[in-house]
């Protein structure tokens, strides 16, 4: 079994580990690091439940090998709150009832984090297209869109309250 040593920073902590070459990033995060907030919902890269930020870009971690993250920085849902204070996206999902079973939520939030970094004032259409790689079965998306708009507004009004997520 081929393996490789990788060094990856995850939510600000740096890990150096020997991993099998074929190990998926999502499995490395969930099982080696015990960060189980990132979820697996499909096997064809369609659902987006596994979305994390890799050097600030949202990626589907089920379709990234752990070795591809070598030398890079990963942010997962566990890294979004700072100092006990929820990130505006987390606040928005709570205020606007943007989650029900919670399974798609971490992936949605991570995707939205890059969406808002690229486009701080997205229209409803832009949000819907922006999260079209993330499936939700519970909410019907209406409140997810509201949650992201809530966060966008909050982040525009208080940019200093949000730490860099990359």
């Amino acid at each position: 079994m081929k393996s490789k040593e990788i060094t990856v920073t995850v939510n600000g902590d740096t890990y150096t580990q020997d991993v099998p070459s074929r190990l998926l990033l999502v499995h490395w995060i969930r099982e080696n690091l015990a960060l189980t907030g990132t979820h697996i919902g499909c096997d064809t890269s369609n659902c987006g439940a596994c979305t994390v930020l890799l050097d600030g870009k949202s990626v589907k971690s089920c379709t990234v090998l752990a070795v591809q993250a070598n030398g890079k920085s990963v942010t997962t849902i566990e890294g979004m709150a700072t100092g006990g204070e929820m990130h505006p996206l987390q606040q928005g999902f709570h205020e606007e009832h943007g989650l029900q079973c919670g399974f798609c939520t971490p992936g949605m939030i991570m995707r939205a984090a890059e969406l808002l970094a690229d486009n701080p004032d997205p229209s409803e259409d832009e949000i819907r297209w922006g999260i079209s790689g993330n499936l939700c079965r519970c909410t019907g998306y209406v409140n997810i869109v509201k949650a992201i708009r809530f966060a966008a507004k909050k982040m525009r009004e208080q940019p200093e309250a949000v730490e860099a997520t990359a």
Binding site: M1, P20, R22, L23, H27, R30, E31, A34, L35, T36, G37, T38, H39, I40, G41, C42, D43, T44, N46, C47, A49, T76, I77, E78, M80, A81, M86, Q90, F93, H94, E95, H97, L99, Q100, C101, G102, F103, C104, T105, P106, I109, E124, I127, R128, W129, I131, S132, G133, N134, L135, C136, R137, C138, T139, G140, Y141, V142, N143, I144, V145
Partner: protein
């Protein structure tokens, strides 16, 4: 019924309280089955059949056992030693756990590999060699009844064909008589295809047998943990599992929708493996397995007829249905109801007579079906009647809203006895439809449609005015495998006036930790934030039948109210003692008793709780708790009217849902925000089968869309900005006047959308089309009609 309004602080019924359970999900601290990690835990993966119908000539596990990390390969022969190779289904049919002779559907479980980690297990699966001899598959359910069709269930004594059962309801003779001389009759074949719940979390379990204690703990994606525990005890009692030493834990569940009600073979194999090996065994299915092997929903072929007077007055309904159950009847229905609540098919209307019959058949497909976000078979029944109402309206040239108003059961007719035996509790159908029409601007839309039609544009308006029957159910009628369908609440108040409440239901996202707390807050005046709600651990939760078919609020919600009232009765005695008055001198408002005429003489629920442990009346038991098992006197009947506007692209056949207004009535509302969220989700799971989803097989039984690449779930792009509203017609027999609402929208949306599409195409002579209404299907109609872009 009027419930006193509570303050924001108490946060009882009617408040849009933000969800108490959100915190852990938002921080990635949700605890789902795949998050369970136990010392020594092994991984299980399943070998599945590529063929729909084949004899197993042999299974060679030598190569698999050589794979590093693989510890064991379990086959049907292994389980046969423990008589666990077959298990009963919820409908008292039988289902293979692992086959010893033949496979009956593509993706059926054939063997299981136990390994040290999931990658080794997957390597092991790839190395298992199975020698198959193909058999002729039975795929078409109509052909399944041909005299020369292969008999699939040769394992069942006395089974000489593929017919499972026949069920009927209503008065055939009276119905036939009305049809024979009715002024107007309409008839359509309506097929509701197989679909899949496709919750974002798939199914799985961690089976953890402790050989020293003889105790089995199973962490499982199940909507009904107690029922599962009892079933394990009954099915595996002979291998030494005893119910007091079985613990089923339903942790956080990533969506259920009915798909996590069945006991899947994977669970049983994992349990057997853990018992034999003495270590925890985790099995989590991947998405392909979930779509291709887990229970489907719907698959009803219905021939529907309506008979009416010339002026559109409905007289009778007649439906003949062929139900495709796959290779075994693994439906999740109450035992006396093989066709579920299909008899609700008379819908929101007054009819003189009705007759419905269902025949179920075996085919070489995955078994089922489950009740996908509906009360058993209510989606099928509502689709039938609501589609036929529009067919009738089109035939006699009447506006579909007008036809519905003409035939609605009127508000003063409740409780209403339907000709198929239901007693509808309460309803105001005209009010809901009128509200929907006002909100969407119905008359303006019809004017716009007339203008557009003149220009050849394809605009459609569809209505669905549904009535559901949910909340199973009264013990005189309903049971699952003999277990009655009550539900329960065990409520305990602590000395400092806070509370813990445990229930026999199991939320999969419906917000019970918030809504149940609000019910108790309403009843006792303890702030909802101070009421801890737990579900899902069979070691601690009172017995219940779980959450599906919109039953939680009607049963467990009622139990919470009743348990609270038992506590209030005791609290009143304590208050009388503390205030030194008699009970008759006390009056109650949420949170406190006060003395009549002396409003400053007050005993709060917190005072009373403390006294229950420190200063209770002599002779009274200490403590302040109650448990209630609620047996509902009837089912409940949520209803609503939905109106959908579509525009169809003349060139591509693509349907755009321009607007969708939903007016729902679920009786008294616990949390408007959560109810609205349920409607949004349900509408989206109604849009999905209406336009996108159907599990499709070829003539050999190969599934054609068994992954998310081809089985298309709506994303945020396809999903409209749903418009929601409600009316409130309380349920007269429920302690809180509430009915349940989680599934109304999945039931009501598909007919509204289908009606809109058919309406758009009606100028071309279309009277009916089956869902999903995909672009190729619509393009074909357009092309045949000579319509071009």
């Amino acid at each position: 019924m009027e419930l006193p309004k509570t303050s924001e602080k108490i946060c009882g019924m009617g408040h849009s309280m933000k969800r108490k359970e959100d915190g852990r999900f938002l921080h990635g601290q949700g605890h789902y089955v795949d998050d369970v990690k136990l010392p020594g835990m092994l991984s299980m993966a399943i070998v599945r059949s590529p063929f729909a119908h084949a004899k197993i000539k042999g299974i060679n596990t030598d190569a698999a056992m050589q794979v590093p990390g693989v510890l064991a390969v379990i086959t049907g022969a292994t389980l046969e030693q423990y008589n666990l190779h077959w298990m009963p289904t919820l409908m008292s049919d039988t289902q293979m756990v692992l086959p010893t002779d033949r496979v009956m559907y593509q993706s059926q479980e054939v063997a299981a590999v136990i390994a040290t980690d999931r990658y080794a297990a997957a390597d092991g699966v790839a190395a298992v060699e199975v020698d198959y001899e193909l058999l002729e598959p039975v795929i078409d359910p109509f052909k399944a009844l041909d005299p020369d069709a292969p008999v699939l269930r040769t394992d069942k004594e006395g089974q000489t064909d593929n017919h499972i059962w026949h069920w009927e309801v209503g008065d055939r003779a009276a119905t036939d008589e009305i049809f024979s001389d009715a002024a107007v009759t309409v008839k359509e074949d309506i097929y509701l295809p197989r679909i899949h719940v496709a919750s974002i979390e798939t199914c799985g379990c961690v089976a953890d047998f402790d050989p020293v204690e003889g105790k089995l703990t199973v962490h499982m994606t199940t909507q009904a943990p107690h029922a599962v525990r009892t079933v394990i005890a009954l099915v595996a009692g002979h291998v030494g599992l005893s119910e007091e030493k079985i613990r089923v834990i339903s942790p956080d569940i990533g969506g259920g929708f009915g798909g996590k009600v069945p006991v899947y073979p994977g669970y049983v194999i994992a349990i057997a493996a853990s018992v034999v090996i003495g270590k925890p065994v985790k099995w989590i299915e991947d998405r392909s397995e979930n779509l291709q092997a887990d229970s489907f929903a719907r698959d009803y072929h219905m021939t529907c007829e309506l008979a009416a007077d010339a002026d559109g007055t409905l007289r009778a309904l007649r439906i003949k249905t062929l139900a495709d159950h796959g290779y075994t009847d693994a439906a999740a229905n109450p035992s006396k109801y093989p066709a579920g609540m299909f008899s609700i098919c008379t819908g929101s209307y007054n009819l003189d007579a009705a007759f419905a019959e269902v025949d179920a058949v075996y085919t070489n497909k995955p078994p089922g079906g489950i009740a996908y976000r509906c009360s058993f078979r209510v989606t099928e029944a509502v689709h039938a009647i609501e589609r036929m109402m529009d067919v009738l309206a089109q035939k006699i040239g009447m506006d579909p809203a007008e036809l519905r108003f003409k035939n609605f059961i009127q508000p003063d007719q409740f409780p209403f006895h339907s000709v198929t035996g239901w007693e509808y509790d309460s309803g105001d159908y005209p009010r809901a439809l009128r509200k929907a029409m006002d909100l969407i601007g119905y008359e303006d839309l019809r004017r716009e449609q007339a203008e557009k039609r003149a220009k050849g544009e394809l605009m459609g308006i569809g209505i669905c005015s549904f009535t559901e029957v949910v909340g199973a159910g009264p013990s005189r009628e309903f049971d699952i495998l003999g277990i009655k369908m009550f539900d329960s609440c065990e409520l305990r108040i602590h000395p400092t006036g806070k509370a813990i409440a445990r229930f026999g239901t199991k939320s999969q996202g419906q917000g019970h930790e918030t809504t149940y707390a609000q019910i108790i807050a309403q009843e006792l005046g303890i702030p909802a934030l101070n009421v801890q709600v737990e579900e899902g651990d069979t070691d601690t939760a009172p017995y219940g039948l779980g959450t599906y078919a919109s039953r939680s609020t009607p049963t467990a919600g009622a139990a919470a109210a009743k348990a609270s009232r038992k506590i209030r009765d005791k609290a009143k005695k304590i208050a009388a003692y503390l205030l030194e008055v008699s009970e008759e001198d006390l009056e109650w408002e949420p949170g406190q008793f006060s003395v009549k005429g002396a409003p400053d003489k007050v005993s709060t629920i917190q005072d009373i709780a403390f006294a229950a442990y420190t200063n209770h009346p002599p002779g009274m038991e200490a403590g302040l708790e109650a448990v209630h098992y609620y047996d509902p006197p009837n089912l409940t009947f949520p209803f609503g009217s939905y109106i959908c506007v579509v525009d169809i692209d003349r060139g591509t056949g693509q349907v755009n849902v321009r607007r969708f207004v939903s007016v729902d009535d679920c009786g008294n509302i616990i949390n408007p925000m959560i109810v609205q969220g349920q409607i949004h989700g349900g509408l989206t799971q109604g849009l999905a089968p209406a336009l996108y989803e159907s599990l499709t097989y070829d003539e050999s039984g190969n599934i054609l869309n068994g992954t998310f690449m081809d089985y298309l779930l709506p994303t945020a792009v396809e999903t409209p900005a749903w418009e929601t509203a409600h009316t409130v017609t309380p349920c007269p027999h429920h302690p809180l006047g509430a009915k349940g609402v989680g599934e109304s929208a999945t039931v009501g949306a598909p007919p509204a959308i289908a009606n809109a599409v058919v309406d758009a195409l009606s100028p071309l002579g279309v009277t009916h089309m089956d869902i999903p209404l995909t672009p190729p299907k619509i393009w074909e109609v357009l092309n045949n009609s000579g319509v071009t872009a």
